[in-house]
């Protein structure tokens, strides 16, 4: 199976470690991974800012760049939701639908498609798992607290193999962190309030590490944590799963 690794623009520019950890995990799992260097952005930020035409152009381009792969894998649930749910809506047609079905979030792909054994190295920390909204309610990886369709949460499944890891339970298991793409800039007051509320919940659970399959939520939370909760470490789940080097 030829796998195209999609490293979302914000990960590419701001958090290269996450891309490296994802690549490492996929290679260790025996996949033939390539990083097509012509890739840029899935267009999610543009769509959420109201740029439907611009997002459509990028969706078309994305399909062109990744067309040759059997699977497209991204270390971001939110960008994967853009590929799987919104690209076919923007482009229409059976071909777009079929392409969308080949796009996976990293943990979903490792656990559900490659069926890798969960890593077993030690990670002796109290970890708060931030459930990203798009993982939950667009990709249906896990089940939202308000109900709705039930799916397996591959992030939890993979993390629970780690030795000495303690997954803490939060008062609000899947409350939105307030990132929301352009929302974080347009509605900065509410956005930050929401993020601070998440940090407070995670601190109350005495978490040492916050992780998620969604790097954009994590960048927002990390930026708040740096000012308001410096003791919290924010790691992408790929970094934890890839082991000491990356984490």
């Amino acid at each position: 199976m030829r796998v195209g690794l999609f490293v979302p623009c914000h990960v590419d520019q701001l958090w290269p470690e996450v891309g490296l950890a994802a690549l490492d995990l996929l290679e260790r799992a025996g996949a033939r991974v390539e990083f097509p260097t012509d890739q840029t952005c899935c267009g999610q930020a543009l769509l959420s800012a109201g740029g439907h035409d611009e997002a459509r152009a990028l969706a078309r381009r994305f399909a062109r760049v990744f067309d040759r792969y059997d699977a497209v894998v991204a270390p971001s649930a939110s960008c994967t939701a853009m590929l799987r749910v919104h690209h076919p809506l923007l482009l229409g047609g059976a071909e777009a639908q079929a392409f969308a079905a080949r796009c996976y979030e990293l943990c979903e792909f490792l656990h559900g498609v490659l069926r890798v054994a969960p890593p077993t190295h030690a990670f002796p920390h109290r970890v708060a798992l931030h459930a990203g909204c798009h993982a939950l309610r667009e990709l249906r990886l896990g089940r939202a607290s308000e109900g709705g369709p039930r799916g397996e949460d591959p992030v939890r499944a993979l993390l629970s193999g780690l030795r000495s890891i303690e997954l803490v339970s939060l008062a609000r298991a899947d409350e939105c962190c307030g990132f929301g793409g352009v929302f974080s800039l347009v509605e900065d007051a509410v956005s930050c309030r929401m993020g601070l509320d998440r940090l407070a919940d995670q601190r109350a659970a005495r978490a040492e590490v916050v992780t998620s399959s969604d790097p954009s939520c994590l960048l927002h939370l990390a930026s708040l944590a740096r000012r308001h909760a410096p003791e919290l470490r924010v790691l992408h789940v790929a970094q934890i799963l890839a082991g000491e080097k990356s984490a």
Binding site: R61, R137, V186
Partner: protein, 454 residues
């Protein structure tokens, strides 16, 4: 003012914001427990969605049937194209009956039409009787929530209001005693009213009857005592058959407050002996909304308020931050249809978390509609031209991988060399609310990968 600015004002009192969030979250939790206790919850949502969509598709047929059957039962049916026509019809009916003292139970439609100020300006005293609505009426403000109109207020504020308006002892803030004071005052008004106005939760085409749900019994006192009952409803309230009612009734109260059913679910088929029942069917933009493929689905809303309770933005910004008759996610879809430029910021007041879609008892895909509005309302947002340009520039960069990589490298370089003070000025919305700048890596992922592979 935009939603963001009003939300910023609301958040300036962090203690109140926390309380408001917790208060609405507890409603979400009650709804979750109630939904979980119903084994066929998802099947009910599915059925409700199908019935509503079918009814909306065949709306003229069901409206005509409803009119015919309601008339056969002795009700008088009126049609209003818009708010002014609705208000004029109600005013005319009240004048004809010589009614100057009128009680009203909860109706978002009359709120939408501005009936209260219309009648007051014409010398007719209209008293809202739902406790929450009475509270906001006495405060001269609009409801902040469609099910819990006074959910933004603390008990002490209501105590002070009642002390001034109803003469309760100063400092009294016990909800039971404040409610009793309102009950005593409103009982007198019920007994003295010459007409009662109600909203409508469901209108049954098959039987020509209307259904009104309340917990307080105010709609019932308002229709059992005065001889004239005027029921005001949007044309989207129709359902085909009486046997469809249980599908909605099992969803409505559970979604709204977590109750299995409201205390009173009243079915009115024609006037009571010696009385009169007038039903006003109001369009006011609904037929136009129905013709818009992207947004017609919003007409399926049964006004349970669940999308507000679950919305993380609503909980932290308060209903008044929407500055609209209907706030929250459903309001952010409906209100721009009425006045696009006034409500252009509402669809932005959303992280697209998707929870509203999951709780909606009639499965309205609210995030999808909010996303659709964002594109359409771009022309009305502040700095629309700049945003358009930014979108086009971003598209250009993302369509050319080398341009994107070069711009990324330049931006990272600047972010690393410029003083943080410059970068996190007031102009920077990322840092304004309390976020630090992200830690900027020297190399991008693609640069690092290229380096390692060399």
């Amino acid at each position: 003012m935009t939603h963001a600015e009003r939300a910023g004002d609301f958040l300036r009192d962090p203690e109140r914001a926390r309380w408001h969030d917790a208060s609405l979250w507890s409603l979400r939790e009650k709804r979750d427990r109630a939904a979980t206790a119903v084994p066929d919850w998802e099947a009910l949502r599915e059925a409700a969605a199908a019935i509503k969509r079918h009814t909306l598709a065949s709306l003229p047929f069901y409206l005509a049937r409803f009119e015919e059957r309601a008339r056969a039962r002795g009700a008088v049916v009126h049609w209003a194209r818009d708010a002014a026509e609705h208000n004029a019809i109600v005013e005319g009916l009240l004048r004809e009956a010589g009614a100057t003292r009128v009680v009203k139970s909860k109706s978002m439609l009359t709120e939408e039409c501005g009936l209260n100020p219309w009648l007051e300006a014409r010398g007719i005293e209209l008293v809202d009787t739902d406790l929450g609505e009475r509270i906001v009426q006495l405060r001269c403000e609009r409801p902040s929530h469609i099910v819990m109109p006074a959910i933004h207020l603390r008990r002490a504020e209501i105590g002070a209001l009642f002390h001034a308006e109803l003469g309760t002892p100063e400092g009294l803030d016990d909800p039971a005693r404040l409610t009793l004071a309102a009950r005593t005052d409103l009982r007198r008004r019920f007994l003295g009213a010459q007409a009662g106005i109600t909203g409508v939760n469901f209108a049954i085409a098959e039987t020509g009857g209307i259904v009104v749900c309340t917990n307080e019994g105010n709609a019932d006192l308002g229709t059992a005592l005065p001889p004239l009952h005027i029921a005001c409803m949007g044309i989207e309230k129709l359902i085909p058959r009486a046997a469809d009612l249980p599908v909605f009734l099992r969803l409505l109260a559970r979604s709204a407050t977590g109750q299995a059913q409201t205390a009173y679910t009243s079915h009115l088929h024609g006037p009571r002996p010696g009385g009169a029942l007038h039903i006003v069917l109001v369009d006011n933009g609904r037929s136009a909304l129905r013709s818009r493929a992207d947004f017609a689905d919003a007409l399926a809303c049964i006004r349970c308020g669940a999308c507000m309770n679950t919305c993380p933005v609503f909980r932290r910004s308060g209903g008044h931050s929407y500055d609209a008759v209907i706030p929250g996610p459903i309001g952010s879809v409906l209100e721009p249809a009425r006045a696009p430029s006034a409500h252009a910021s509402l669809p932005q007041a959303c992280t697209l978390c998707g929870s509203c879609r999951d709780v909606c008892p009639v499965r309205i895909d609210l995030p999808k509609q909010l996303l659709a509005w964002r594109g359409e309302l771009l022309v009305h947002t502040p700095h629309a031209g700049a945003r358009r340009t930014a979108l086009r520039a971003a598209r250009f960069a993302f369509e050319h991988a080398r341009v994107y990589a070069a711009l990324g490298a330049l931006a990272r370089l600047l972010a690393r060399v410029l003083p943080e003070r410059w970068l996190s000025g007031r102009w920077n919305a990322w840092t304004r609310g309390g976020r630090a700048l992200p830690r900027i890596p020297r190399r991008s992922f693609r640069a690092e990968l290229a380096r390692r592979r060399r």
